[in-house]
Amino acid sequence: MTAATSMRITYREAVKQAIREALASDPRVFLMGEDVGKYGGCFAVSKGLLAEFGEERIRDAPLSESAFVGAGIGAALGGMKPIVEVMTVNFSLLAIDQIVNNAATLCHMSGGQFPVPVVIRMATGAGRQLAAQHSHSLECWYAHVPGLRVVAPATIDDARGMLRPALASPDPVIIFEPISLYNMEGELTEAASSASLAGARVHRPGRDVSMVTYGASLWRCVTAAEELAASGIEAEIIDLRSLRPLDDTTILESVRRTRRAVIVDEGWRTGGLSAEIAMRIVEQGFYDLDAPIARVCTEEVPIPYPKHLEDAALPSPARIVTAVRRMISDAQ
């Protein structure tokens, strides 16, 4: 990677740089999805790539999510390195058969003969007043499935760095890019060049409580942690980065130190990733806890359109702060 140290770029630009590097370095790589070419990408991620790499490799697909995701799986089996862009996780439900019944199973059903090295990117999450059908956070549906690898880059470095190991993986990898982060600016550092596909990371060290989170909620936790720090509570933030596999070791190491955990997940609480993470903490660290585990998730409603209601539905720094303060005051 040729990125200069400490360049300031957007998340969108980081993803684009990663795709461009992949296209330039391997002729087997191509990008396929709705509006990735002429339009420049629904979120402008692939703007300019059509002119640079041509129609064959920046391939506009019809509104046939199942067919072009399946075609990506087939092309991967056929020796290519496709990056399939499904515009958003909401539309991926039209392709979930191909992802769950084919991408996730073929390696196993063939006794290891046919791994499926496809990379599927999709935008996820709420926060843009797009109402219920365009605001889902269904990462946990995919993280549920053995055979898939699921990652959620939340930082500029990971947005820039995780595509390369994803393309190097022999397994199907789903990359979730939070819609609300595309415009986020930040420092691109040397760390991007060595980003791993799996493994959580301590985003902010702290001694009093562990915030376990991923995706857009990482930055809600950062805001909450700053507010808590003003009153002397030091939160440690774990950025999961990978949702399957989950990095139990990093989560448990943190919880053993802080003895408190709050899980922040933009998915719904019922049957979600927060439940899975909480249970793993209970299974492996129950006696290290000084307080019941708390969860801050999206309220159990389809995401509403008006801003005040959407804000109220989503995990917010205020709700995270409240959850932490309650946890700490209850213990005293």
Binding site: S66, A67, G78, A168, D171
Partner: protein, 329 residues
């Protein structure tokens, strides 16, 4: 009964008949093994449709990819997957061609580029489009041959895949085995337009109706479709009209069709008609036919013994192959 096509030799005729008999005999033993409890799960037999598999496979090259359905034993045998590992897969043994992980519905074989064995109706069509896309982007001549039943024409993936393959002029052979029943639902009970080829034609896919009971007709139509695809002219759909003599699966009481209909189709069966034609042309004697039966039965018997004597995969290996065990090339 029609005459044989011009130029068919005794050797060629016997070869094609042997291939169909291998499938028929193999599946007869599968049904027995199912009754004896050696094969479990779903078992979908191909009796009556052998001319499709055998006719198509005469044309395909080693580099071509094959995508099939849960009724794929015939395709697998005709493609050249060895019968021992195939039967071992039915039994779920570790020596099976899919390592025992797939069973009857999920036959895979890297050596013959046989990519399943897909048990979701229509699920293989997008994969075929992807294989063909890879072939085209890599400048290869390989085609993707995709078998599916007429029931798949009701799935969205059929329509999405037709459009995509035609739009990008991809070398796909869409091989629709129209046996008139999607499990127990007759075509006319589920489709407003029962001519499958007309649906494909609407997407600009070259589309042909073929007598799927005639191995020569299937071979000839496949040859044209493959040449079209290899010449960069795009996909074809062959609507191969055929009939399944046996039940949909081992759980099917066949309440949805008349015995008389089955008996009528059986008189047009691919094996009986080819046998009659070869004898009428003086290319085969009854002794020849009995010898073919004996030899194919011996091959199946050896496969059964291989399967029965194979070991089970140890339970400690349960979670293997969920993720790849080899690095990516």
């Amino acid at each position: 009964m029609s005459d044989l096509p011009a130029g068919i030799t005794r050797e060629r005729g016997l070869y094609l008949l042997r291939q169909m008999l291998r499938i028929r005999q193999f599946e007869g033993r599968c049904a027995e093994a199912y009754g004896a409890g050696h094969i479990r799960g779903f078992l979908h037999l191909y009796d009556g449709e052998e001319a499709v598999a055998v006719g198509v496979m005469q044309v395909l090259e080693a580099g071509d990819a094959i995508l099939s359905t849960y009724r794929e034993h015939g395709h697998a045998i005709a493609r050249g997957i060895a019968m021992g590992p195939l039967m071992a897969e039915m039994y779920g043994k570790r020596t099976g061609c899919s390592g025992g992980r797939g069973g009857s519905m999920h036959i895979f074989d890297a050596g013959t580029r046989f990519y399943g064995g897909n048990a979701i109706v229509g699920g293989g069509l997008p994969l075929a489009v992807g294989f063909a896309l890879a072939s085209k982007m890599q400048g290869r001549q390989d085609v993707a041959a995709c078998f599916f039943g007429e029931g798949a024409a009701a799935e969205g993936e059929f329509h999405e895949s037709m459009n995509l393959a035609a739009l990008w002029k991809l070398p796909v052979l869409f091989l629709c085995e129209n046996n008139l029943y999607a499990m127990g639902t007759a075509l006319a009970r589920s489709e407003s337009q029962t001519d499958i080829h007309a649906k494909a034609a609407a997407y600009g896919v070259r589309s042909v109706v073929v007598d799927g009971m005639d191995v020569f007709a299937v071979e000839s139509a496949t040859r044209e479709a493959a040449a079209h695809a290899r010449a960069g002219q795009g996909p074809s759909l062959l609507e191969l009209r055929t009939y399944r003599f046996r039940a949909h699966s081992m759980f099917d009481a066949q309440l949805y069709r008349d015995k008389a209909e089955i008996e009528d189709w059986q008189t047009r069966g691919p094996i009986i008609t080819l046998t009659t034609r070869l004898k009428a042309a003086g290319l085969m004697t009854e002794d020849d036919f009995q010898r073919l039966l004996h030899e194919t039965d011996a091959e199946v018997q050896a496969a059964v013994e291989f399967a029965e004597h194979s070991e089970w995969e140890p339970v400690e290996d349960l979670t293997r192959h969920v993720y790849a065990e080899v690095a990516r090339p």
